[in-house]
C-alpha cells in the first residue's frame, strides 16, 4: 500500500442490555490522510473459531479501504476474542445491541459483515454480507466438532441430547462456554431480509473461502475483491 494508514486499538463503550456500558476493544483504521471520503465501515467479524481464520482477511480489507480514503473499524464481540466479558452471559440480542453501539460510537455509515457476523448486524445501515451463514449451520458445525473430539476420547454424544442439555444448563462447544439462553436462541438466527444490507455475490470473490481452512491463511485476491465491492458500493452512493 502506498498510503500510510493509521491503525489503532481503541476502547469503546459497549451498551449492556440492562443499561449502562462496559468498555470493549476495537481495531480502527483511519482513512488515509488527504483522501477521506467521509465513509466509515463497521466490519463485523466472523463468530467463534471462524473469527481466527477470517481476522487477517478482514484486516487486509480494512487496510485497502483505509488506503482508498474510507475508515474502518473491527470491534471485538463481547465474550469472544480479546473481550473480557463473560461469554456465558451473552445472548444474540446482546451482541446485536453491542454492534449497534459500536456503529453509533464510531459513526459507521456502512457495514461489512463476515460469515456469522451477518446475524448480529445492526438494522438500518446499508452494507454487505460476505458468505453469511445461519446460526443453525454454525451451531451444527460446532456440535459436530465436539462430537468428533469426544469420540476420540471414547465418549459417544449426540446433537439432540447436547442441544437439550445446552438449552437447560448451557454448553461448552470447541472451547466456547455458551449460556442456556444463547444455545436456545442462536440456532434460530438468520440474516435480516428487511435490512438494506445485501449479500456479496459469490462469483465476485475468488474461492475457496478462508473459513474452510483448517489453519488460518490469507488471500490477497479475496481482500482486493471484497474491498472493491465495498468501494464501488460507497462510490455508487449506497449510503444515500
Amino acid at each position: 500500500m502506498g498510503a500510510t494508514t493509521l491503525e489503532m486499538i481503541e476502547s469503546w463503550p459497549c451498551p449492556l442490555p440492562g443499561g449502562g456500558t462496559r468498555d470493549e476493544l476495537a481495531l480502527r483504521l483511519a482513512a488515509a490522510v488527504g483522501l477521506e471520503r467521509g465513509a466509515q465501515v463497521l466490519v463485523i467479524p466472523a463468530l467463534f473459531d471462524e473469527a481466527n481464520r477470517m481476522r487477517r482477511l478482514s484486516v487486509e480489507v480494512m487496510r485497502r479501504l483505509s488506503a482508498s480514503g474510507v475508515g474502518a473499524v473491527l470491534p471485538e464481540i463481547p465474550g469472544l476474542g480479546d473481550s473480557l466479558a463473560d461469554l456465558t452471559r451473552q445472548t444474540p440480542g446482546d451482541w446485536r445491541l453491542a454492534m449497534l453501539g459500536a456503529a453509533r460510537h464510531f459513526g459507521a455509515t456502512h457495514v461489512l459483515a463476515i460469515r456469522g457476523g451477518a446475524l448480529i448486524a445492526p438494522d438500518g445501515l446499508p452494507g454487505w454480507r460476505y458468505a453469511p451463514v445461519t446460526g443453525a449451520s454454525q451451531m451444527r458445525q460446532m456440535l459436530r466438532a465436539r462430537i468428533v473430539a469426544a469420540r476420540e476420547l471414547g465418549v459417544e454424544e449426540k446433537q439432540d441430547s447436547l442441544m437439550a442439555q445446552g438449552r437447560e444448563a448451557g454448553l461448552e462447544l470447541v472451547g466456547y462456554r455458551l449460556g442456556a439462553e444463547f444455545v436456545a436462541e442462536f440456532p434460530g438466527l438468520v440474516v435480516n431480509a428487511d435490512s438494506p444490507m445485501r449479500d456479496i455475490a459469490p462469483d465476485l470473490v475468488p474461492t475457496p473461502g478462508l473459513w474452510l481452512r483448517a489453519e488460518p491463511g490469507e488471500n490477497a485476491a479475496q481482500a482486493d475483491a471484497l474491498a472493491a465491492v465495498v468501494m464501488m458500493g460507497i462510490t455508487a452512493g449506497d449510503a444515500a
Partner: protein, 86 residues
C-alpha cells in the same frame, strides 16, 4: 483414474487443508487423514464434513463419523461414493 466424486473430494481437501493445486492428486487410497495430518483437528473435521455435504449433496450422520471414516483417503472416498449412490 479419477471419477467426478473423487475429483470433487480432492478439491474439497485441497480447499480445507490449503494444499497447492494438484497436490491432492498425489493422495492414494492409503493416504492417512485424521490423526495423520496435524491440521485436521476436530473443528477442521467438522468443517470438512459440512463442506462435503454441501458440495456433494449428501447427508453425513454423526453416527457415521468415526475413526474409520477419516482413517484414509480411500475410506472417505468409499463412504462418500456409497452415499451418492455410486
Amino acid at each position: 483414474m479419477q471419477n467426478e466424486t473423487d475429483a470433487q473430494l480432492r478439491q474439497i481437501l485441497t480447499d480445507v487443508l490449503g494444499l497447492k493445486p494438484g497436490q491432492a492428486d498425489g493422495f492414494t487410497a492409503d493416504t492417512g487423514l485424521f490423526g495423520h495430518l496435524p491440521e485436521l483437528d476436530s473443528m477442521a473435521v467438522a468443517g470438512l464434513l459440512t463442506e462435503i455435504e454441501d458440495r456433494l449433496d449428501i447427508v453425513i450422520d454423526d453416527e457415521d463419523v468415526d475413526g474409520d471414516l477419516l482413517e484414509s483417503y480411500g475410506a472417505l472416498l468409499t463412504f462418500v461414493t456409497a452415499r451418492r449412490g455410486g
